[in-house]
Symmetry: C2
Subunit: 192 residues, 2 copies
Amino acid sequence: MDVLKQRIVRDGVALGTEILKVDSFLNHRIDVGLLAEIGAEFRRRFSDVAGEVDKILTVEASGIAVAAFAARSFDDVPVVFAKKAQPSTMDDEYFFSEIMSFTKRQMTAIRIAKKFLAAGDRCLVIDDFLAHGQAALGLLHIARQAGAEVLGAGFVIEKGFQGGGAKLREKGVRVESLAVVREIKDGQITFE
Amino acid sequence: MDVLKQRIVRDGVALGTEILKVDSFLNHRIDVGLLAEIGAEFRRRFSDVAGEVDKILTVEASGIAVAAFAARSFDDVPVVFAKKAQPSTMDDEYFFSEIMSFTKRQMTAIRIAKKFLAAGDRCLVIDDFLAHGQAALGLLHIARQAGAEVLGAGFVIEKGFQGGGAKLREKGVRVESLAVVREIKDGQITFE
């Protein structure tokens, strides 16, 4: 997606060899016009299964806006976002998965209320970043617990060198990343 | 906003006298069609200042989708969402505010990177809930540090009996709430 890659080159900040900051348009300050284009692009990438998608799964917080705009392009299917914090009221039952946050160097539990994910639901996983794949693998784990089907996983930016994409594809998951970064080095970003 | 109130009555869950759960359409599972209508309604409520809005401020996580759809209705102005977790890289400077979470019974720091909020910026605060007003007061505090102007604050649901609306209005903030709940009692929800 050229407009996205151009934006990453213009406004992204490459730190060291691992970190690509896109907080000026994606995950702190949000360019909603770009997000609407991103949502439409996900629809194009998954056009062959678009009519089968029942819901879109993501993880709070930075996945929410991306998933919500994607959902608009998939005929307003509902978004369900996995939560990270402990529930304030424990009146619901949840599916849980433990994921490792490499940036924060700690384990986090994500959860989705059982009432919002049913056996047979056909889902797309949508998130802002695919890095080590932990968030996406956690969502797959939760979908498996629910008996839901994952039709594919879409990411705005995949850091191809951190292995998450390989892990998902090994599991047979169809991955569509709108920009795949091959290398971050000396402040430069190289795409696949 | 009648369609919203009807949805709250149909799908909201009243717990005790304080808690109104709307996680089936607003803050866990998201109905994006309804959110687009909500965004358009905020535009109508603030139509007299719509041309002056530079950006929309909210707090992660559940404010993000609401703010993003509102931004679409305000000619795609950017959204800036305050973050709660500690930054993984401390290369940026932040405005901070400490807010009390009554549901979690603990203080939380929210922060916005200084580069995303400038003196003279004219902002709308948009959030899903106005309860005790802590998140909104935190955003006002951050806007004041930045020298930014808050043109108004819009909420999907105001729990009128928890005092947040009164606090904001006392400070001279224009508040637009799309549904104001007067009372939660015996599983029933009464609107103003």
